[in-house]
């Protein structure tokens, strides 16, 4: 029992299939009510798909676990209706400091520019995120959340998956057209089906302590290499909600996990760090090891693996839960199009391709961080300490200090869903890029670009003055909404005002859109439901848009 948090106990209800002995057929079943499974279920339910979520437990994550949620994740959480709750409860931060022994050698800012809705990162105990997602899920009529429902077997078929599920009332059978597997790092389903996951285990152990205390340290990420209070190892400090502080101590491979978990071992470590006089209470303690590995393919027929079930990384860089939520973001719009018969089945292969690239990037970066933090040889340690020693005075060495390269979204620049540029652009908003935010005004109301895009394909056309758009062109833009896959056209302009044909107009209220998107009159972006760029042009061309839309949905072969 924690002092600051009461674990909710979610109600188990006997499933209708179990009660009636009838195995129903359902469009989508999600296994796992963690942050990733719930994000996928909410996303699909919001778009009108009936979803069942099965979870073998009846509460949320035990302990703080995930902790850091990155800007991109918050933008996805905004899209599924839980962003505000997380940001209000969480601790926003932007600055990280790295210390070597007693001195600060390096600091970084996650967001170097103003005018983004969301901060670089928030810290929030994972149980809060899960609780907010459960509440959101329970508010959706077409989302059936079933606790204490444990999947005991999964049989893949050509047209779906047959599940055996165990409940307190006994077993029942469930047939799913599509199965989303988000049952965590030790994925039960992955094991049952004997699917490989490849990578390496790191021979190191870490102690996590959630500590309740009153302290006025700033809301920053502090990382120590070889500090005097924990010599030879590293330590990480994060402030979370409710005055709970998360401390990660590197212990080394020889440490005994059972011993290290005991309060009489943990408390002296914390006192050495915080001083004898600091009053604190232990909320939760755990000892962990980690691996970096992934499945070769995240799609197996009608089964789609997401989050830790599909890939795992070392925790340095907060690339675990963050990448899992981005999996859901990438998957759901594709699955919806395929289920509706508006895109071929192959679109789901691009889920595995695109998120596979992201997983590789996450594994690469978190492996590099781990290798820097825990050098594997005397030479590697010498280089590491040489970098840290030079870092105080020399910028080049500071750039090499690697205490975690924190979660940033992957640029899907190699994706086959992108339409290559035919004109020159400055900046980073190239096809495949996750969209940058910008302040806008929508019908007199101040808003944010990323609050207004997403959930559907959109075309953003930059114009000097909306009033000067000709009626014929406005009709062409408006007609994109009548295509089999509707595309909503919006004018973005430094000037507000009204456009013909009731086209929506967003005012670029701080000029950031023009800057970040290198936009001038005529510049047109096609954006995906997951807020990634599909294509861009210097002039509006309806035919080019239709071709790019076909490409972004794998409809080119028809």
């Amino acid at each position: 029992m924690l002092r600051t948090y009461q674990y909710p106990k979610f109600e188990y209800r006997q499933p209708p299939e179990q009660k009636n002995g009838v195995s129903g057929r359902h469009p989508v079943v999600v296994v796992g009510a963690g942050p990733v499974g719930l994000a996928a279920a909410i996303d699909l339910a919001q778009s009108g798909v009936a979803v069942i979520v099965l979870d073998d437990d009846d509460t949320v994550s035990v302990g703080s676990r995930g902790v850091c949620y990155a800007k991109r994740t918050l933008e996805v959480l905004d899209r599924i209706g839980v962003g505000d709750a997380c940001v209000v409860k969480g601790v926003s931060w932007n600055v990280g400091r790295t210390f070597f022994r007693e001195e600060e050698v390096y600091n970084f800012k996650l967001l170097s520019q103003p005018d983004h809705k969301r901060p670089g990162m928030i810290n929030l105990q994972q149980y809060y995120l899960e609780e907010y997602e459960v509440r959101r899920a329970q508010a959706l009529a077409n989302l059936d959340l079933r606790f204490r429902n444990k999947v005991t077997s999964a049989t893949p078929r050509d047209d779906g998956v047959v599940l055996q599920v165990e409940t307190p009332d006994g077993g029942y059978t469930l047939q799913a057209d599509w199965l989303i597997v988000a049952d965590g790092a030790r994925s039960n389903i992955r094991h049952m089906l004997n699917l490989d996951v490849e990578g390496k285990v790191f021979t190191d152990r870490f102690l996590i302590a959630d500590v309740l205390m009153k302290a006025d340290f700033p809301a920053e990420r502090w990382f120590w290499f070889d500090p005097p209070f924990h010599p030879g190892q590293s330590v990480l400090l994060h402030r979370q909600a409710d005055n709970v502080w998360r401390i990660d101590f590197q212990l080394g491979w020889q440490a005994d996990p059972e011993e290290e978990r005991k309060p009489e071992k943990v408390i002296p470590r914390i006192k050495a760090m915080l001083g004898e006089d600091r009053e604190f209470e232990l909320e939760w303690v755990s000892v962990y090891t980690f691996q970096c590995r992934r499945m070769a393919d995240f799609r197996h027929g009608r089964m789609l693996f997401a989050g830790d079930a599909a890939h795992q990384v070392s925790p340095f860089g907060a690339r675990g839960a963050n990448s899992g939520i981005q999996d859901a973001d990438n998957l759901c719009w594709k699955l919806k199009l395929v289920m509706d018969g508006r895109a071929p089945d192959t679109l789901l292969d691009t889920y595995s391709e695109e998120r596979g690239v992201a997983a590789d990037e996450n594994i690469l970066n978190s492996t590099r961080s781990t290798d820097f933090m825990t050098p594997k040889s005397a030479t590697s340690l010498t280089f590491r300490n040489a970098v840290l020693g030079l870092a105080r005075d020399h910028a080049f060495a500071r750039a090499l200090v690697n205490s975690g390269r924190l979660s940033v979204p992957c640029f899907l620049t190699e994706s086959r869903l992108n339409t290559p540029d035919v004109a020159a652009f400055a900046g980073d908003m190239l096809p495949g890029a996750p969209m940058d935010d910008a302040p806008i005004e929508d019908q007199g109301e101040s808003s944010w670009l990323l609050d207004r895009v997403g959930n559907r394909f959109m075309v953003l056309v930059f114009v000097d003055d909306p009033a000067t758009v000709g009626p014929a062109q406005a009709r062409t833009m408006g007609a994109l909404a009548d295509a089999p896959i509707p595309v909503e056209a919006v004018l973005v302009s430094p000037k507000g005002g009204v456009a013909p044909q009731n086209l929506r107009v967003w005012r670029d209220r701080a000029g950031r859109y023009a800057l970040r998107y290198d936009a001038r009159a005529g510049t047109t972006y096609l954006v995906r439901p997951d807020q990634h760029i599909a294509a861009r042009w210097r002039v509006f061309d309806a035919q080019a848009i239709c071709a790019a839309l076909a490409r972004a949905t794998c409809n080119t072969e028809h």
Binding site: R368, S377, T379, S380, G389, F396, R405
Partner: protein
């Protein structure tokens, strides 16, 4: 030309979205070069590496500046 002390890692033909990537690419290669070597072998690889790079830089004034910075602070 004075010794460059600002971040300078780059790779022709590669576009990096994240500024830390080319430096991390280098560092990983450097550590990988030493994999499975004894400490003595590693010391030899380092010495050879310094000689190769020193010749590449060529400007002895720049090399002296680097040697001076590398040396400072090491003896405590």
């Amino acid at each position: 030309m004075p010794l460059k002390l600002e971040p300078n890692f780059h790779e022709p033909g590669k576009r990096h979205v994240r500024a830390f990537t080319p430096g991390d690419d280098f560092y990983e290669s450097l550590i990988e070069t030493h994999r499975d070597l004894s400490d003595e072998q590693s010391a030899m690889v380092n010495a050879r590496l310094i000689l190769l790079l020193a010749n590449h830089v060529g400007d002895v004034a720049v090399l002296r500046e680097a040697m001076q910075i590398a040396h400072a602070g090491v003896r405590g």
